[in-house]
């Protein structure tokens, strides 16, 4: 499996591309063995084989649960949150398409500008029917259909394709948010199909009821493996899911929402899940087995009963500190600074009165002036990648995107840990370099060739500096740059071939082609293009 990746993912700097492809893939921790099972030998062997693909540990979650979760939230209020009406500006349209989707296709933002804001938002939040995928179907580097359940990295590319081509952009974006919220990694689940099933679950609940989503996730096989639900039984309670369902999924740490005793009692409520391990198919037949369930009474959040796993979810979502956690965390995916007390109170009220509707809260966030007019947000690596592909009209025709995104800090289906990726720390000297590599790869089929073969068109021998910059901007579907950045690029375009750089007439065309490629790279990797 690795050989395919190495052979197919390396055009630039072949050796390092191979080395990188080779590095990816290994579990941070070994997948768990099914402890009560006898057929250990084969199972262990399987893990050893996987071990060769050493996955680097990306993403260090510096902060605890995002600092935007309020310690003392205001009570919910019935006042609607502030919203902006009127037509959407071009800048707002671009932002909406980048933050609630995966960036504009050529002309899309321009066409959306002037539409009433609520209509522009509802186009995203209220899609009808099944999503359609426009454009060429995804393939690997040899033109074969992707096999996302089997081949390394093709799970990433399969989903990236949906991000690039789906006409229900927000549904994909919400699926992406749920993948981070309920962050499971295939490094431990070790079954791509199981991760894809979970992905379908996220998509089907993308904008529905959070309670339904949480309930479905709690009994989802990938989650039962990832947080050891199948090892949690009445004899040996395992606290892994109990703690994270409160800390990360519904209530937040260090807010006084629960105690260590609640963690232990909740673990007992969650006992009973199990699965069988078979030689050929690994873990199968995920089910609730009441013989493994602790039927005694448990006291959680001061409430006593013979709680089971569904009660565990209900107890969390009916906790008085749940609504403030939910709306604050969801807000943080769309807006960089925390909401005001009034907005926080209103969003909680809306969440509760709508029956924990995700769609209702997302619509309110997208219409909020803080979203439409507030400061920039750094674009996550996968969104950046999908956005560049959408801008140049390229589909998935290589599996290189999986290792390229990984270098930039985000490989889908491999979040760094159960807290997901740190959305406040995407850019540093390592990931900025990886974005350079990624942007270059996006141009691999359409860069201006300085050295065309016989019969191929030569690049212009006379192109002036400013038209060159215009042409490079058009290549990326005319993204928004600040005046300062534009000026700096214009100066580069004007000076880079001056001062005796061109010494012979034959250099006019190739050096202008190189300048064009340089400008395209500088635009795509500019700080301006990393934010929306």
């Amino acid at each position: 499996m690795n050989a395919t990746v190495a052979a197919s993912s390396s055009k630039p700097g072949t050796a390092s591309a191979k080395a990188r492809a080779h590095k990816h893939g290994t579990p941070a921790a070994h997948p768990p063995k099914h402890s009560k099972h006898h057929a250990h030998k084969k199972h262990r062997k399987k893990h050893r084989r996987h071990k060769r693909h050493k996955k680097h540990l990306t993403g260090l979650p510096g902060a605890p649960a995002p600092p935007t979760i309020p310690l003392n939230p205001p009570p919910p209020s019935n006042t609607p949150p502030p919203f902006q009406g009127g037509p959407i500006s071009l800048a707002q349209a671009r932002r909406l398409l980048w933050r609630a989707g995966f960036g504009p296709t050529p002309g899309q933002a321009e066409a959306l500008a002037g539409t009433p804001i609520d209509e522009a938002i509802q186009n995203l939040t209220r899609p009808s029917g099944e999503p359609a995928l426009h454009g060429p179907t995804p393939t690997d580097d040899e033109g074969n259909a992707l096999t996302p359940a089997d081949a390394w990295g093709q799970d990433h590319c399969w989903w990236l394709d949906r991000m690039v081509r789906s006409d229900q952009q927000l549904v994909e974006r919400m699926t992406f948010i749920w993948h981070d919220w309920f962050a499971n990694s295939n490094s431990k689940v070790n079954d791509q199909q199981r991760m894809l099933d979970q992905n379908a679950l996220f998509r089907s609940h993308a904008l529905g009821s959070f309670d339904d989503l949480f309930m479905a996730v709690t009994s989802d096989p990938a989650m039962l493996v990832f947080l050891d639900g199948i090892y949690n039984n009445k004899w040996d309670p395992n606290e892994n899911y109990a703690r994270e369902m409160m800390e990360l999924f519904s209530l937040g740490a260090d807010r006084g929402a629960y105690t260590e005793t609640d963690v232990r009692e909740m673990a007992r409520a969650l006992t009973g899940w199990t699965a069988d391990w078979t030689e050929n198919e690994g873990l199968q037949k995920f089910r609730f087995d009441k013989n493994r369930f602790d039927e005694g009474t448990k006291t959680v959040f001061g409430k006593t009963g013979d709680w089971g796993w569904e009660d565990a979810v209900r107890l969390c979502v009916s906790h008085p500190l749940h609504a403030s956690y939910f709306v604050s965390k969801l807000w943080s995916y769309f807006v960089p600074a925390p909401p005001s007390q009034e907005t926080l109170a209103s969003l909680q009220g809306l969440y509760n009165s709508s029956g924990h509707s995700i769609r209702a809260v997302v619509e309110a966030i997208l219409a909020h002036p803080d979203f439409l007019n507030g400061p920039e947000l750094v674009t996550p690596p996968v969104v950046y990648n999908a956005g560049l592909l959408r801008a140049v009209g390229r589909g998935i025709d290589t599996t290189a995107w999986s290792w390229l995104c990984s270098g930039a800090g985000q490989q889908l289906f491999y979040p760094p840990n159960v807290a997901g990726w740190d959305f406040t720390r995407w850019l540093d000297t390592s990931t900025a370099k990886a974005r350079w590599e990624l942007a270059s790869y996006v141009t691999s089929e359409t860069y201006a060739n300085p050295w065309p073969g016989k019969g191929e068109a030569k690049y212009s021998e006379t192109e002036e500096a400013l038209p060159a910059l215009e042409s490079a901007l058009a290549y990326w579907a005319n993204p928004q740059l600040t005046g300062e950045t534009h000026q700096s690029l214009a100066e580069f375009a004007q000076t880079c071939l001056e001062g005796g750089v061109i010494q012979a007439k034959w250099q006019n065309s190739p050096f202008r082609a190189i300048r064009q490629n340089a400008l395209r790279m500088l635009i795509a990797t500019s700080p301006d293009m990393q934010v929306s």
Binding site: E260, D428, S430, T485, S488
Partner: protein, 469 residues
């Protein structure tokens, strides 16, 4: 790679790479106007003593010669005495009771019927004969016998927090404050570092370690020097270096928001680091350095990063002060602990041992200490095939200059805390205070609130140990 290198002409390789890195860049002479379009003044020049291109920002009207001298001084400090801390994180909460197992205690075997280590499996820990080294930690036992390991057998803080993220955050920021956004090493660099030099705080990873997050001075993340090469389709001479320089220049412009500032800073620092690490990158199939010792092949990127780091530390002109990297694998062993821990611990310790031997062979072991840490230890009572989150854990400092005396004793399993976890006998903030005060010779209280001088003696966090021999 490193261990099988046949190219031993280290300096020639290096200079070749430097020539590449610097080619095509205009030289800046005194009196030359500032680069057009930039919001700050900026100078690029060859730092002759290092032979590397450097770009410098925001330093007013100093002449390039001034810069050269200033940077050479700041960058090189007073070699070879410039102290370095290499901090290695065992992610997930490693099981202290397996790493240093209290095998003589009957209670241990009651709590750990499946996972407990048995007497005779590993070396007895000489400072407390009730404890036994995990067989896969034999490299640590060996260094400990040489007096180069300071053991903290039950380190933590009160009250303990059993969340990975909260506890890790406390260790990263050096205080029990969930809101702090700068790391403890980052704040040390804010106090003692250089406003021009991102290499002083180096994450050998694909992303910056939170413990290195600063508020004032720049720091860097580099997965490895050989990965840090810039290439693009259809880009080449004569425009490669001018383009990369233009890329860095975009990092100097105004930023209307914190997100924009993060993006601008990343561009700016990327361009500086690119020039600094170029000499250590593999070039045309030849490694940028040779290692005097063999590193293990197991452990993925970890041994490769340590090998490159030793070579970089051996260049006294590179102003590296704090380094952070992650150990092999994960340690959150709720299930399948025996195999997972053995593999990851074994691969990590073997590489750390090689790194220490490398430093010794290069004769720079007197200016480096290594810290092994984890966010907590695990619950004494096993859950079947694994262990849940606990409180006090184990931590090590490794280095030739250390006293190598245990800090705090092992508290035993007869008296656990209210959550049935191991109680601590030392506080991580006292360890940090000791590193700051005695190793870096910086007042600890400037970095860790209320930590005092950091010299040995009582503090707000219990006794600060005497660390240095």
């Amino acid at each position: 790679m490193a261990q099988s290198c046949s190219c031993n002409d280290f300096y020639r390789t290096r200079n070749h790479a430097i020539a590449q890195a610097g080619s095509g860049l205009p030289s800046i002479e005194p009196g030359q106007p500032l680069p057009a379009g930039s919001g700050m003044d900026r100078r690029s020049f060859m730092l002759r003593s290092v032979g590397a291109m450097l770009s410098v920002y925001g330093a007013g009207a100093l002449s390039p010669q001034h810069f050269e001298e200033g940077i050479a001084a700041a960058a090189a400090a007073t070699p070879p005495k410039q102290p370095v801390l290499v901090s290695i994180f065992m992610e997930g909460g490693w099981d202290a009771l397996s790493v240093l197992a209290p095998v003589k205690e009957a209670r241990y075997h009651e709590l750990r019927p499946n996972l407990g280590k048995k007497e005779g499996e590993g070396t007895i820990f000489a400072e407390d004969e009730d404890l036994m080294w995990h067989p896969q930690a034999s490299g640590l036992a060996q260094l400990h016998a040489e007096g180069k390991v300071t053991v903290f057998p039950a380190i933590g803080y009160d009250p303990p927090d059993e969340s990975h993220f909260t506890s890790r955050h406390y260790w990263e920021v050096g205080e029990l404050n969930a809101q702090t956004r700068s790391g403890w090493m980052g704040r040390y660099l804010d106090v003692a570092g250089d406003s021009q030099n991102p290499l002083q705080g180096l994450s050998l990873d694909y992303q910056l370690a939170p413990a290195l997050a600063t508020t004032k001075v720049p720091v860097a993340a580099v997965s490895s020097p050989s990965d840090y090469q810039f290439w693009a389709y259809g880009l080449g001479d004569p425009l490669t270096n001018p383009t990369l320089d233009a890329f860095g220049r975009l990092g100097e412009l105004g930023a209307p928001s914190p997100a924009f500032a993060q993006a601008r800073t990343a561009s700016l620092d990327t361009n500086i680091i690119r020039n600094q690490v170029a000499p250590f990158a593999e070039h045309e199939g030849k490694p940028g350095f040779t290692s005097p010792v063999a590193y293990p092949s197991a452990g993925g990127d970890f041994p490769l990063r340590l090998a490159a780091l030793a070579a970089m530390l051996d260049d006294e002109e590179l102003p590296i002060k704090c380094v952070s990297l992650s150990a092999v694998g994960g340690y959150d062993t709720h299930s399948d602990e025996v195999e997972t821990l053995s593999t990851n611990l074994g691969e990590t310790v073997a590489s750390v041992l090689a790194f220490q031997r490398d430093l010794e062979a290069r004769k720079i072991d007197d200016r480096v200490i290594i810290q092994l840490w984890s966010e907590f230890g695990r619950r004494p009572e096993e859950n079947g095939s694994g262990t849940d989150h606990g409180a006090a854990g184990v931590s090590f400092l490794i280095g030739s200059r250390l006293k190598g005396e245990m800090v705090g004793e092992f508290p035993g399993l007869s008296k656990l805390d209210e959550n049935e976890n191991l109680v601590n006998t030392s506080d991580f903030r006292a360890m940090y205070a000791g590193i700051l005060g005695q190793w870096f010779q910086t007042e600890a209280g400037l970095v860790i609130p209320e930590a005092g001088t950091g010299l040995a003696g009582p503090s707000a966090y219990g006794n600060v140990p005497a660390l240095i021999a």
